[in-house]
Each structure stands twice: as C-alpha cells, then as structure tokens.
Amino acid sequence: MDALFQGLSLDYLAACDYAKTGKTWQVFLPASSLVKAAERLRVADWHLEDVLALDCAEGFVVTYHFAHFDKPGRVAIRVLAPHDAPNVPSISHVFDGALWHERETRDFHGVIFEGHPNLIPLLLDPDMADCFPLRKEPKSRAKTREMLEVGEVVYCRPSFTLMTPDAPAEGQESGGPAATA
C-alpha cells in the first residue's frame, strides 16, 4: 500500500486489523491528492465499493472503500471536508461507480463533489435539496479519533492531529516511505 502511494502527499497511513474492522488499510489524504490516489487504485485493479460521509466534530470524513476482485483486502481512503465548506473533488471520471455514490452523499450530508458532471439529487426529492438528513447536531457530533480505528501507523504527517489520541501518544513516527510532504 505504501508503495502504491509513493510520491503522493499523504496525511496518514495505517494498517488495520482485518478481523477487527473488516479492512486492511486506512489512509487519510488531503483533498488535493484524492484524484491522483484514485487513479493509482484504478490502475492497480481496485474497485470502488462505496462512498460515505461521517459527520464528525472536525468535519465530514468522506470515506471511499475500495476492494479487489481477485485478492482480499480493503482500503478506506478518507478525506476531511470542513463543515463550513464541504468541498471534495469528484473521482467520478476515474471510477464511474462514484457517480451515484457521490450524488447520494451530497443528498445525505451536503458534501459538494467538485467536477461531478451531474450532481443533482438522487435518492431524495429535488425539493429537499437543502435538507441534509444525516447531518448531526453540532453538540452530538463525535470526535474522529473516538470512532475510527487507529491501526498500526505507517506514516503520519506531523501536522495531522485528527487521529492523535487526546492523551499524548507515541504513534507519531513520521518519515514513512511515502513522505514527500
């Protein structure tokens, strides 16, 4: 996985326990390198399973699950979109399956996917275009690090604090193979 993202600007890369979480890798990306990452995954024969957003205290954690047809493994690519400007680049030109998943995420959370050719309501009524049912009340939002699996951190950008436990922790070994930031 680290080889796949060689040379990309990453925030966080961790191996996860498949038996516990159902996925093998978890990656946080800055929005700018999402499309490039998707292109690499496409070349490496991954397919898109789904796109979802998590409404956390820090912002919308837009998660893309990818899996292989011919070997096991699942990778969760995550992008943080702030609440006030939830903009994420669309990967629908790389994985066409994202067309609908992104429209659905826009319906539910109001995340705007830039570059999506047809970002109109899919599951919800067009008249409800400004109502996002899965957005949470600000005070009931949970923190990212309380929910997401930390995993075995391979690389973490020093400035990236989303997954840092509240107590000072040791998981911040920087200088992974993918470090170009």
């Binding site: 516990k20 397919h47 699950h65 539910f108 599951l123 067009p126 949970a142």
Partner: protein
C-alpha cells in the same frame, strides 16, 4: 424554494427537464416508470429514443427511499434488525447477516458454530428463493408468462421451510446479535433434506421450458455485453460480475462463517451478456443446494445464541467495522461506526443493486427498447434495496 426552483418547468418534472436539456430536438423522451411493468416496482428510467433505439438512458431513483441509514441513528443495534429484513425483499437474510456481521465484528462477539451453520443454511435457502423470484420475473419481462408460476411454486416450498424457524415468509428478522432467534427443528431439517432432491429434479424442467428455448436464447444472447473492466469501474458485483467472467464471490474472496468448510464452485461465464448472467444464476441455485446439503450433514449440536447475548439496550463499543456478505445480487456491505453511544453513530448500507444498476446507462445506450428491458431484468433489480 430551492436552488433548483429556477429550472424551466414547462412539462415534466425536475428530472425530465434536467434530462431534456441535453437531448436532441428530434428525439423522443420516454419515461419508463415509475409505474411500468418491467421496472419491478418503482424504478424510473428516462430514455431518449430515436425510433425504437435508445440513445441515452438515465435511471431516476428514490421512489422507494426510506432512509434506513437515518433510522439506524435512532435505534439501537438490536432494534435495527427488523429494518434489515425490509431492505431487500428478495434476499432479506443476507442483509440481516451483513448488518449483524458488522456489529459482531465491532463488538468482537463470537457466534456459536451451530448458529453459523443455521445462518448459512437459511441464507442459502433464501438465495434460492431470490434467484427463483428473479427467474420468474425476468421471463415475465421477456414475455413468457408461465415460468413465474412454476418458479413461485418452488419458491413457496423454500418459504415454507424458512417459515418454520423464522415465522415469516418475506421480511425476515431472524438473526440476532451473536446467533439466531430459533433453532432449526427436526421437522425443518427433514423438509430441507426433502427439498434438495426435489429442487434438483425441477432444474431440468426449467431448462426444457425456457432456458433452451430458441426465442429466449435469441432474446438474451449477445444482449447487454458488460466487459469486466466496466464492472470494475462501476463496482458491479455478484452474478453481474460473474456473468462477465470475473471470479468474484464474497463467500470465497473474504470467507466468512462456515463457507471455507464447504465445497462449492463459483460459477462464471465468459459470455458477458444477459445469457451469461442467466446461466450463472441458474448454476448458483444448484451450488446453493450443494452448500445446504453439506451444511445439514456437518451441522454440530450446540447453542444457537452466544451466552450473554446483547440486550436491546446494549451499547456497541467504540470503533468501526465493515462486513461484506454475498447476497443474491452481489456484495452486500455494511459499515458501522460507533462512538459508544446508545445508538450506532453511522450505519452505511452498500447495496449491490445500486452499483449494478448504475452501469445500466452506459450499457443500454444504442440498444433497442426491448433489449433495454432484457438488460434491466438481467441485472436483477430489487428497488427497495437500491433506494434503501
């Protein structure tokens, strides 16, 4: 009212107008659905037609949208199980399983072995029912009226068996966190043992009645060719991917439960067309029978529910989990993320039909209307599952 209110509302609704903006002047815009005999419920497809030829198609969803993901936010994990029976009326138990698998993974609950066998048997029976439902309905789409009656005759038998432990016939909520609700009785196991040879004896009749029929073959051979690369781009799974020659089955790719212990093949077809998907499903019925046969043989005695199984007020621990099972239509994935609160923080349901249908627009363009119906049917759509 909304940012879409400024759209030109001459005739037709928002989606028709949005679609018509990019249509050619001379073409015919036709709404197939939401009430249409071949859209299996309330799917709507807007098509731009030139005579009988389809230039462009756009499915419009949401007519059966129930926002199960929001409901999951206001119910505890155990209380959400009945919802999972209602996502997909074809293969309800697979959805039961997918959700509970995710919750069990999240909480680290080990399911007793007998319960795993019970789950496998009932899930596979349900898969047979699902494929029979598809078979009948698909041939109805293609204009053959009789097969659905024969299919439902057989399906009734499956439902009778499933009714014994579950008490319902369609929208099961049978699995529980850490096991199943009721054990399979001796009566039930006997019925299953009787059912297997009986169903096997029916399959040649299906073949004689329509599978070999020249009219059917001409209708589905070479229609709706889906290349493996297209499957990958759209994330299509299940019989749609296997009909395109991709050997991908969650039961083998990410083995769960007792599937590693049973012997079955994952049928694939190199035809890549509607015929390939048809053949794959027909073989899958046979393979499901094989799995059930072995499971009934191997099933150990024991508990069906883990000791100290969670109560309805049980709080899921912090963390996240993704669990995928192979449903009748493909990979059913459930993602749960919990912050340790009363209800699960976020539940995401990945419906296989959703990804499978999304490639329809690309496959159907350039075909004639009757082929579009044949393609739509061959994707095996269950609209409540797609709309969730």
């Amino acid at each position: 009212m909304t940012r879409y209110a400024d759209m030109d509302q001459v005739a037709g609704d928002f989606y028709t107008n949005n679609f018509a903006k990019t249509a050619k002047e001379s073409s015919l815009i036709l709404n197939l659905g939401p009430q249409h005999p071949s859209t299996h419920g309330v799917l709507r497809v807007i098509v731009e037609m030139d005579g009988e030829y389809i230039l462009r198609a756009e499915p419009v969803l949401g007519y059966l949208h129930r926002m199960h993901e929001k409901m999951a936010e206001v119910k505890t994990a155990a209380q959400f199980i009945p919802n999972m029976g209602r996502v997909d009326y074809g293969h309800a138990l697979a959805w039961n399983w997918a959700f509970l698998g995710a919750v069990e993974k999240l909480a680290g609950i080990e399911v007793p072995e007998r319960a795993e066998y019970v789950r496998t048997i009932t899930c596979e029976l349900n898969r047979i029912a699902s494929h029979l439902l598809w078979w009948g309905a698909y041939l109805l789409d293609l204009g053959a009226f009789t097969p659905i009656m024969y299919a439902f005759d057989d399906r009734e038998k499956v439902l009778d068996i499933l009714q014994m432990p579950t008490g319902s016939r369609l929208t099961y909520s049978y699995y529980r966190i850490g096991g199943v609700a009721l054990d399979l009785s001796e009566d039930c196991l006997r019925s299953i043992r009787e059912f297997i040879p009986w169903m096997r004896s029916r399959l040649p009749m299906y073949k004689d009645l329509v599978s070999d029929n020249i009219i059917l073959r001409k209708r589905i051979e070479g229609v709706g060719v889906i290349e493996p690369e297209l499957c990958r781009r759209y994330g299509a799974t299940g019989p749609v991917a296997r009909g395109s020659g991709i050997n991908y089955d969650v039961r083998r790719a990410e083995p769960y439960s007792v599937y590693p212990k049973v012997d079955f093949i994952v049928p694939t077809s190199e035809l890549k067309d509607a015929r390939g998907r048809y053949d794959v499903r027909m073989i899958e019925i046979e393979q499901s029978l094989r799995i059930i046969e072995q499971c009934v043989e191997q099933m150990p005695e024991g508990d069906i529910l883990v000791k100290g199984a969670p109560k309805p007020s049980w709080k899921a621990p912090k963390g996240e989990a993704y669990f995928a099972v192979e449903g009748g239509r493909g990979k059913i994935g459930v993602y749960v993320a919990s912050d340790g609160g009363k209800n699960i923080y976020r539940t995401k349901l990945r419906a296989p039909g959703y990804s499978n249908l999304s490639l329809f627009a690309e496959v159907s363009s350039g075909t004639i209307l009757a082929d579009a119906v044949a393609i739509l049917g061959s994707l095996d759509l269950i609209i409540p599952e797609i709309d969730r």
